[in-house]
Assembly symmetry: C4
Homo-oligomer: 240 residues x 4
């Protein structure tokens, strides 16, 4: 019996939510679940269709991207996950225990336009207080060096440059590529990816209705975010 | 046995129509059912996923927003429902027995653009005779005072300013936020929310096909509305 | 035993295809099945949700719109069906045995823009050789006179004015309202309504990709139409 | 027992993926499976609805389009498949064992605009390194000569003119008509058609968000393509 079975189970359940929430076709997309005490995460094996996944097929990887346990090759995006856990969770102390990457339609469309998703309404503000950030394209040097690791570095640099807190802004678009999201559990990272997709869709519609649509006023953004996430949050059953 | 079981059952059935009609993701959205004799309404508990709802989990609240019966915290939008029942149903005498709030995609998109939905066709005119009204953003003062209650006040003021009859115009967009609808039963409020979503989608398409699309002539609007809702209505089996 | 049971069954099966093919929400939409020998058609009762329909609930109506058999009130659109059968099938001799009216999203969007759907590709040309016609709004006089009957008259006049053959052009948009379609059976009318919806959606997308998109050249239109419908048709198993 | 049963089974399974992946309505679309040793392919019978298909109903055809085995008439697009196998697989030696034609919504929309689908992101670059090519309309002479065969010729000429390698670029739009795709198995051709549809949808959205969206830089295109398809591919479990 592996000591990583619970972690594998969490990763497996979260990966199965990708097709359930229509966040990717075929094998496109992957979720990982992180155990900070062991310094490892469980991640989807590369290129395996969702219906063939089992908890046992999840691969255990350390933060250098080395396979610790598992018979299959881990997702090709594994080095991106490793960088994000190392930098955001371990170094910055952000409470990130799950990361997801998908190719969901509307989020990818904004990433392809290399544009952050404007903050137009409360559906968005209920989750993050800024537009959804979008990195520039990865540089040629970075791509030639170590593509997936540099994708992680690009996200981290973008967050540091914009002074974004990964505990508060838990989603990002990589320019020309697509969405990454994270959360305090693997399941919550999937939820955030679904939010990002829906908010991306609404934002495109909003622009089509009104090309000069304005951002939601700051005071409404703050109110909506804080009623769900602030010290006096009053949304849900467990709010203080 | 609570005397509110029937009301709870009605609210529960209506809430379960939100995911069935694809009107919101996850826990976004809530329906209430109002009993004017008791002066209370049953509403969805806050933040509980639809598959976990039961009739017994519906919370009974009075028109000041105080919990009368129930173990869970009511929807954070409860004060908005309370204001609408108090002002429209009790004060104005409108026959409103159910209210719904959702984050349905196309209705939210118009709300984010802070634009009323133009009345382009009979699908719309079959239900209301005006464009779907859209309030401005809530003021900073109102947001800081009592956000959800002021959202209700904003809707009421907007209706009074535009001289809209809540028995005839049973749907509204709150600018930057999203749709609210109501009806003579909780189930009918859900129906109206589904109508609003479909009509919002058709209106966006219409603008894309023809940016200068015209409003439906008044004489067709009236005909369509009256054949369903007028004193000589002849649509359906119970029409006079 | 009524002699109209087969006709009722045909109308019932076709009506149940409206929700199955996602051509309307709730009760919006109706199909009728015509028996030219008896001079009657079976049509959906007004305002009854699809899951509650039975073959027995279909109403038998003659070409003046009088109920011949049935306990329920027929669809409020019955006089439109009656006019189309009388003018196109009986008078012009077109082989029309089924008529459908829906509020499908994209077809309604074009109707609301009061624009015919351009013939951009072979998906369209496989079915009709012209753009999908769109009538103007019904006149105020006609609306005040006899709305549903005049809707039928408007379609007939539009076809005669444009010299369209209802055996070849089996679909139409009523300006500001929505789609009507017909076919040699009730089931084929539903098929044509589904084609109209899909072609309407593709045409909007095409315009978004290329606002000055050109019509499909005439020689391709003819080829595609004739390979399915011409005297030497070679599509399908029963083609000559 | 026919020696073509395995081939028929492969074609049948792949055809059933057309409705499962929502790539066509009704009977629109067909897949074939090719056996290069026997010089024949199995293809869907013309005009038969998917639920009525069986492996036994697949028609075996040779590369001149003659029926070798089967009681039904083969798809009317059979001559197009025959040309593509003959030219690309037999003559050029491309490893093509399956071909698909659909009328999927977004791919058709680009074909109707007669525009290649720009390469905006990695979802696209994971599969092909160029925009999705789009042929011009077929000429009047070609249409009048032998429509379906000339459609195949048009694709082959377009690939030769643009110096595209059919082993690398496994999808194409026929101007005014719709998508064709192929692959090393019939199942992979369906996968490529689903990719083409999703990429076509994302590209339209991208243009709506940013009309002057740029192509993905060449160095990212190459990286993404080669990590899946190059000699040192590291995506999936069977990669070298």
């Amino acid at each position: 019996m592996s000591k990583f079975n619970t972690l594998r189970e969490e990763a497996y359940e979260a990966n199965m939510q990708i097709p359930a929430q229509h966040l990717a076709l075929y094998t496109w997309g992957n979720v990982s679940a992180f155990d900070p005490d062991e310094g490892v995460f469980a991640i989807k094996p590369s290129g395996v269709p969702y219906p063939e996944l089992t908890a046992g097929s999840m691969v255990i990887v350390d933060l250098d991207g080395n396979v610790v346990e598992g018979n299959l090759r881990p997702s090709s995006d594994t080095p991106t996950h490793a960088v994000l856990y190392r930098e955001f969770a371990v170094k910055d102390g952000a409470k990130i225990r799950g990361i997801i990457h998908t190719h969901s339609t509307y989020a990818v469309s904004w990433a392809q336009a290399v544009k952050p998703v404007p903050l137009f309404g409360t559906t968005h503000a209920d989750h993050i207080q800024t537009e959804i950030p979008c990195t520039p394209y990865l540089s040629e040097e970075a791509v030639k060096n170590d593509y997936e690791k540099e994708t992680g570095n690009l996200i981290v640099e973008h967050f540091r440059k914009l002074k974004l807190n990964p505990d508060e802004v838990n989603m990002v678009l990589v320019g020309g590529h697509g969405p990454f999201a994270w959360g305090s559990t693997a399941a919550k990272s999937v939820y955030n990816a679904a939010v990002m997709e829906e908010v991306s869709r609404m934002a495109l519609n909003t622009l089509l209705i009104r090309p000069d649509a304005e951002s939601l006023p700051k005071y409404i953004v703050e109110k909506h975010y804080l009623r769900k996430h602030g010290p006096n949050a009053y949304y849900g059953q467990s709010a203080k």
